[in-house]
Amino acid sequence: MICSNNICVSLSFLADYFREGNSDAEDSELRFATCQSLWKHVKLEAEVSLEDLNKQLFDNLVSFLRRSHSEFQEKTTEWNCQMKSREIPTAALVLGVNVTDHDLTFRSLSEVLQNRVTPYVALLQAKDCPGIKNLMQKLLGQLMNCYVDVDSEEDDYVQTSQNRIRCSMTSLITWYESVTKKTDFETPSKKRTSSRHWQSPPVVVIFKDMESFTTKVLQDFIVISSQHIHELPLVLVFGIATSPMIIHGLLPHSVSSLLCIELFQSLSCKEHLSTIIDKVLLTTQFPLKLSEKVLQVLINIFLYHDFSVQNFIKGFQLCIVEHFYTQPLSVLCCHQEEVKKRINSLSHNQCENIRRLPSFRRYVENQPSEKQIALLTTDGFLKETVQQLLDDLNVYHENYFPVLRCLHVFTSSLPKYPLGKQIRELHCACLENRVWETEEYESFLQLFYAPLFFFFLKTLLELKESRRSKKLTKFEMLRFEVVDYIDSVVRNYLVPADHKTLHEIVYFNTASVLREHLNAAPRVALHTALNNPYCYLKSQALRSDGGSISNKAPDICIVYKLHLECGRLINLVDWLEVRKDASSASSCSHARFIRAVSELELLGFIKPSKQKTDHVARLTWGGC
C-alpha cells in the first residue's frame, strides 16, 4: 500500500499525531493504518464510479471530435469548399451548477482526449483570460507545452519559440503546421503516435467556465479563429453550468452563426450523489457506516449549499478520520477476515471499553445472570461473544441492503412516494427508527395493496375458468399474502442499526462534530460569546438570567450590549458615558473602553462615520 520510503516516514509521524492527541491511545497505530487504507479504498471506489458516470458523455464527445474534422483528415479538396462556411465545430457541455466538481471532470476529460483523440488540448479559465491577448498567450503556452510532453526531444526548439513567438493566430498556425509536418515525416519510424492520433489531429480548446468569460474576448476569439479554420482544425468545448441558451445570450447572432454547436448533457449532480451513496454507503464492502443524523448532515450540506459531490466525499473522509480517532474500538471496524485476529489481540482495557458501550450493556442486561457475570469478568468469554455479535452485525448488513433495495423498488413506483423517492431517503427512514411503525409505511402498504391488482392481472386471467366469486377471493388472498410477506421481511431485516448490539463500533454517529467543522456558524459563535460570556467563561460572576448581562462581564461584552441598543449611528461620547456608569469609573476604564470599541471595529460591528462628529456607524442590523 505504501510505495515510497518518504511517504512511509511521513505516515509514521502522522500516526504519532494520531496517538498524541488521544486519551484512548489503544491500538492507535493499527487504527490509523485501518483508517488510511479504508479512506484509500473509498476514494478509489468513488473515483471509479464517478468516471463510469461520465463515460457515456466522454464517449459521445470523443466521437463528435473525431467526426468534426474528418474532412480535414482526408485532405481532399472537398473540405476546402466545405470549410468555406467557416463554421467551427463546437461542443456545448452542460455540466450543471456544481462548479466545484467541474475541475475534476475537465481534468479527466482532457486526459481522455489526449489519450484517444489529440495531444493538443488547451484548458482555459475565465480568470486567466481578461483579454484576448492573455487568452492567446495561455492557449499557445498550453499547446506548446503539451507538444513538449509528447516529444520531449524537441525541448530546445519549444523553449526558444515560446519566448520569442508573438502570440497570434498566425504563429499558432505555423506551429501547428510544423508539428503536423514533423509527425507526418516521422510516421514511418513512430508507429505509436500515428496509431493513437491521426496525422493532423484537431486542436481542442476547452473553456472551463464559459459563462464567466468576457463577451468581447469570446467573440474576438471566435471571429479570429473562424478566419483560420481551414488552416487549423480547431474544436471548441464550452463548459456550461446553467443552460445552453447562454451561448446565444453571450454571443450575438453574427458570431454564434460561426459555430456549429452540438449539445452534450452530463448527468445531474444528484445522480452523481446517488451513485456515490449507492457505491460507498449502501454496501457491505466498507466496514464503516454512517448513522442517520450524520448522513442527513452530509446530504443537507450537499442539497442546500453546494451540490458538490467532491465535498460530500470530503465530508465522508472527515467521518472516517473522526471515527477512528475518537472511538478506540474502531480497531474492530475492519473486514470480516481480520476481525477475529484483532479480537483475540484486544487488551484488557479494550475489553473494558467494550463493556462500557451502551448497546453492549443493554445486551448484557438481557442475558441470564451467570452469563452476565461471565461477560463482565472473563475477557476470553467476552471476546467470543463479541466475535459472535460482530458476525451477527455483518449478517444484518448483508441482509439489510438487499431488502432495502427491494423495498425501494416497490416504493419508488408508487404515487406520491410514501417512503421517499430516493433510496437514501428510505435508508435514512430505516435507520432513524422502526420503519414499520411510521405512518408513511402504513400508507405505503395501503398503496402497495392497490397496484398489486395489476401485478397479478396475468394470474387473474389464468383463473378465468373458475367461478367469479371464488377467483376474487383467491386473488385477494394472494394479495394479502404478498403484502404480509413484504411486511414480515421489512420487520425482520430493516431493524434500525442502533438497536443492534455493538453498532457503535462500525457506525459513526457524532453528527455535531461534522456540523461544527464543516458547516460552522462563526457569527452565531461571536454573538453568543458577546451576549452571554458565561457560555465560555465558567465564572459565577458572569452567570445571568436571560437577556441581561452582568456588569462584571468583559469590556467588549458590555460595550457590545450597549451598542445593540442604538440605531444607525452611535455617539461615542454617550457610549463612553454609559459605559463608565456601567462599570467603575477608574482611570483606565477610558482606555479599556477605547480598546473595546476598536475591537468591535475589528470584528466588523461598527465603523467610523463621517456623517457626524465623533460618531460611529453600526454595521449590523437589529439586536436584542
Partner: protein, 753 residues
C-alpha cells in the same frame, strides 16, 4: 512604520446578502442574471396590466392602500411581488408563495393580495370593504353572512388609522398612506379592544382564533416554514448544537429587530445617570449589579403592560426633560409642539423604570404602528410574533435607512474633559489593567491546546484549518507554532499588518522557502512557479500560519483566490484565523472547496492587542505623526528641485483624488512635466529622485507610475497647513489641498500638532 488609515468597507447586514448573491451571479456569469431579469420583467407584464384596469370609483381606503409609503419601497415591493405567481383566484393562497425569500416575503405577498382584492372589487358591484372583510373573517365565522356583517363594522374604521395619523401630524394636507394588512388587523383588534376593555376576555379569544385561523389557512406558507425548520434542525444551528456551550442562539435571535428608533436612548440614559447622582449607580451597584446594565428588552416587556394599565393621559405625552430634547439633532416641529406637556413631569425623574417607559412612549409616538404593537396584549403578540418579526425586521430596516437624518446627541469628545489618549499612553494604561477572568481564559486555552495534534493530523490529511470565535487567536496560533512546528519549514503571516500583501507572502515563499532569486511579472506567474516547484519536489512541505486571513489587505478577491490555490497544494498546510463577522463571505463555493476548511471554534476572550495596534482607533489621537515627521525630515533635507518634483506629483495626484482607478502619472509624462518646470535635466536624475522617495516610504510605484502613499499625502496636507516649507506658500496649492482634504474622509481631527 507608517500608520495605515483604515478604509472600512461598507458592509451592512443586507449589504452582505447582496454581496453573497452577487458572488453567486458572478459564478454563473452575469449574462445569466440578465436573462433572469428579462424573464422577471416578462412575468411582471400581466400584473402591470391588471393594475391599469383599476376601478375608478374606488373608495378612499383602497386609494390609501395603493400608494406605497416611499418610491423606493414601491420599487422594492414590485421587485418581490413579481417573483410570485400571477394573481389568480384567492390571493392569499398565492401570497405565501413569495414568502420563502427571507426578506420581503410578506411585503410582496401583501402587494399581491391588495391587487387581487382590487380586481375583485372591480368585478363585483358590492363595496370592497365588505368583500375584504369577509375574506378576512373567513376563519371564525361562515363566509359572508354574519361574519361579513360583523367585520363590516370594523371595516368601516379602515380609513381611521391613516386619517387619525394625518390629523395628528397637524398638516393641512391629507396624508395618503399605505396601510398594510397587518396594521389594519391590528387596528381592528385594538379598536375593538378599547371598546370592550371592561370585559376583555371574549375579544382576546376572538382575536386569537382569528389569527390562528389565518395561519392555518396559508398552508403553503406553513409548509414552507416547516421545511425551513427541518433544514435548520438538520443542519443544527439550533439548540442542541450549542449544548456544550449551554445556550442556543438561532439566526433570528442573533439579529432580530425589536427596538427600532431609540437612537437617542443612550444619550438620555447617560444624561439621566449623570444628572441624578443621588440615586447614582454606585448605590444600586452593591445591591444588584445586574440591574444597571440590564437591557431595556427585559424592562420593556414588563413596562409594556404597565403603559397600558396607565390612564390615557400618559399616552402620547412626551415627558422627556427639556434639556434632553434640546439636544436632539433634528428636532421636528411635531415634537416641539408637545413641549408644554413635558415641563410638569418632574416626579418621574427619580424613577428610572418610569423613565424608560416614557421613552418607549416617546419613541412610539414617532412610529404609530409600533406603538400599537407595544400596547397590545401579550397573548396575541405571541401568536403573531413569528410573522410580525419577519415583516417588521425588513420594514424597519428600510424605514431606518431611507431617511438620512439620525437622532443622536450632538456631544463631541472635544467637550469632554478628557483629552484623547495617544497610542503609547493607551498601551501603557492597558498594560496596567489586569486581564479579567484570566483563569477561565486559561482554561479555555488549554482546551484548545489539546487539539493541536489533531490539527496536525488533519492538516496532513488534506484539510486546512480555520479558527473563529471571539478573542485574539494570535497567542494560540503562536503556541501551536512553538509546540508543533519547531523543526519544520513554516511561514507566519501577520495579516493584520497594514502593509501586508499577497505579493509579499508569495515573495517570502519563493525567496526564503524555495531559494529562488528573481522577480515575477505577476503574482499569478509567481503562484504558478510555486505550484510547479511543490509538485516537482514531493519532499517540500510548508506550513503557513495566517493571523487574520480576513484583514483589510488580504480580503480582496484576487488575494483570496491566490491564497486558496496555494492552500490547495497537498504539501502546503494552512492554518488561519478569522475575526470579522462577514469573513465567510470572502469565499465563494470555488474558493471554499480549494481551501477545504475544517472550522474550529476557538473563543479565547483575549484582547486583540496586536491586531488593533495598527489601526487608527477612533478615540486615539491621530496625529499621523510618523508620516509627518518622516515627510518633514525628508523634505527638509531635499534640494529645492526635489521638493518641486514632489510637489508636482502631489498636485497631480490630488487633482485625481476622486478617481479611484487613477493609474498614476506615467513616468514619461512626469518626466516631461519636470523638464518643463526646469526641475530635472535627465530621466536618470528623476529616477534617482523617485528611488529616494520610495526608500523613505513616501511613494510607491505601480506599473512605472509613481504614486504618493496616502499617509504621506495626508501629512502633506498638514504640512501645507503649517506652511512649514517656504516653497509651499503657493496659494493655489494651498487652496487645492484645502478643498481636497476638507472633503477627505480620513481627516476628522481638527487639532493640528
Amino acid at each position: 512604520m507608517l500608520n495605515k488609515y483604515r478604509a472600512v468597507s461598507e458592509q451592512s447586514c443586507v449589504g452582505c446578502q447582496l454581496t453573497f448573491i452577487y458572488v453567486f451571479i458572478c459564478n454563473l456569469g452575469v449574462r445569466w442574471a440578465r436573462q433572469l431579469r428579462r424573464g422577471a420583467a416578462k412575468a411582471l407584464g400581466p400584473a402591470a396590466a391588471s393594475r391599469r384596469h383599476g376601478n375608478p370609483g374606488r373608495p378612499r381606503a383602497w386609494l390609501a392602500a395603493e400608494v406605497p409609503p416611499a418610491p423606493f419601497s414601491r420599487r422594492w415591493q414590485e421587485g418581490v411581488g413579481r417573483r410570485g405567481p400571477r394573481v389568480g383566484g384567492d390571493a392569499r393562497q398565492s401570497a405565501p408563495r413569495c414568502g420563502p425569500q427571507r426578506w420581503g416575503g410578506s411585503r410582496g405577498g401583501r402587494r399581491v393580495r391588495v391587487r387581487a382584492a382590487r380586481e375583485r372589487a372591480s368585478a363585483s358591484p358590492r363595496p370592497p370593504q365588505g368583500r375584504w372583510v369577509a375574506r378576512g373573517s373567513q376563519g371564525p365565522g361562515p363566509r359572508g353572512g354574519g361574519g361579513g356583517a360583523r367585520a363590516a363594522a370594523a371595516g368601516g374604521g379602515l380609513g381611521a388609522p391613516a386619517m387619525s395619523q394625518a390629523e395628528r401630524k397637524g398638516g393641512a394636507a391629507l396624508e395618503v398612506k399605505f396601510v398594510p394588512d397587518e396594521a389594519v388587523l391590528r387596528h381592528i383588534a385594538d379598536d375593538a379592544g378599547i371598546k370592550v376593555r371592561k370585559d376583555k376576555t371574549p375579544l382576546t379569544v376572538n382575536v386569537k382564533r382569528f389569527v390562528k385561523k389565518l395561519d392555518t389557512l396559508s398552508d403553503d406558507e406553513a409548509q414552507e416554514f416547516l421545511e425551513e425548520k427541518d433544514y435548520v434542525a438538520a443542519l443544527g444551528i439550533c439548540a442542541q448544537d450549542l449544548m456544550e456551550n449551554g445556550s442556543s442562539v438561532g439566526g433570528s435571535e442573533v439579529y432580530s429587530f425589536q427596538t427600532p428608533k431609540r437612537s437617542n436612548k443612550m444619550a438620555e440614559l447617560a444624561s439621566e445617570l449623570a444628572q441624578t447622582p443621588g440615586q447614582s449607580v454606585a448605590s444600586d451597584h452593591s445591591e444588584c449589579p445586574e440591574k444597571i446594565t440590564k437591557t431595556p428588552q427585559s424592562s420593556k416587556h414588563s413596562s409594556s403592560n404597565k403603559v397600558q394599565q396607565k390612564s390615557k393621559k400618559n399616552d402620547f405625552m412626551s415627558t422627556t426633560p427639556y434639556r434632553l430634547r434640546k439636544r436632539l439633532a433634528a428636532p421636528d416641529a411635531y415634537l416641539e409642539s408637545e413641549s408644554e406637556y413635558s415641563a410638569s413631569c418632574s416626579e418621574e425623574e427619580d424613577d428610572e423604570e418610569t423613565q424608560k417607559e416614557v421613552i418607549t412612549v416617546l419613541s412610539s409616538l414617532k412610529t404609530p404602528a409600533k406603538a400599537k404593537v407595544a400596547s397590545t396584549p401579550p397573548s396575541r403578540k405571541k401568536v403573531t410574533k413569528k410573522k410580525d418579526k419577519m415583516s417588521n425586521l425588513v420594514e424597519e430596516y428600510f424605514e431606518a435607512h431611507s431617511t438620512s437624518k439620525v437622532l443622536t446627541s450632538d456631544r463631541t469628545l472635544q467637550k469632554l474633559r478628557k483629552r484623547r489618549l495617544n497610542q503609547q499612553t493607551l498601551h501603557d494604561l492597558l498594560e496596567k489593567s489586569p486581564l479579567a477572568y484570566a483563569a477561565e481564559i486559561e482554561e479555555l486555552n488549554q482546551q484548545y491546546e489539546s487539539l493541536f495534534s489533531k490539527w496536525m493530523l488533519q492538516l496532513h490529511l488534506g484539510f486546512n484549518i480555520v479558527l473563529y470565535g471571539l478573542g485574539s487567536k494570535h497567542d494560540l496560533l503562536e503556541k501551536f507554532r512553538i509546540s508543533m512546528l519547531q523543526d519544520t519549514v513554516h511561514l507566519v503571516v501577520n495579516g493584520y499588518f497594514p502593509s501586508i500583501t499577497v505579493r509579499s507572502i508569495l515573495n517570502s515563499i519563493t525567496e526564503e522557502v524555495l531559494d529562488h532569486i528573481g522577480t515575477f511579472r505577476s503574482p499569478l506567474d509567481q503562484l504558478e512557479f510555486i505550484i510547479k516547484r511543490f509538485k516537482e519536489d514531493s519532499s517540500l512541505e510548508l506550513y503557513v500560519l495566517i493571523h487574520n486571513l480576513d484583514s483589510q489587505m488580504l480580503r480582496g478577491e484576487r488575494s483570496q483566490q491566490i491564497l486558496a490555490q496555494l492552500s490547495s497544494l497537498p504539501s502546503v498546510y494552512l492554518i488561519a484565523s478569522i475575526d470579522h463577522i462577514n469573513a465567510p463571505l470572502m469565499w465563494d463555493q470555488a474558493k471554499q472547496s480549494l481551501y477545504n476548511w475544517l472550522w474550529y471554534e476557538t473563543t479565547t476572550f483575549s484582547p486583540y492587542v496586536e491586531e488593533t495596534s495598527y489601526e487608527n482607533s477612533l478615540l486615539v489621537q491621530q496625529s499621523g505623526s510618523l508620516a509627518l515627521s518622516s515627510l518633514t525630515h525628508v523634505l527638509r533635507s531635499l534640494t529645492l528641485n526635489a521638493r518641486g518634483i514632489f510637489r508636482l506629483l502631489a498636485q497631480y495626484q490630488l487633482e485625481n483624488k476622486d478617481n479611484p482607478s487613477y493609474p498614476g502619472l506615467s513616468f514619461q509624462d512626469f518626466y516631461q512635466q519636470c523638464r518643463e518646470a526646469f526641475l530635472v535635466n535627465s530621466d536618470l536624475t528623476l529616477r534617482a529622485q523617485l528611488t529616494e522617495f520610495r526608500d523613505h516610504k513616501l511613494i510607491r510605484t505601480k506599473r512605472e507610475c509613481p504614486l504618493i502613499l496616502e499617509e504621506a499625502l495626508n501629512a502633506t496636507y498638514k504640512l501645507s497647513l503649517l506652511v512649514a516649507i517656504r516653497g509651499w506658500e503657493n496659494a493655489e496649492v494651498l487652496q487645492l489641498f484645502f478643498i481636497v482634504f476638507l472633503s477627505a474622509y480620513f481627516y476628522r481631527d481638527n487639532e493640528t500638532t
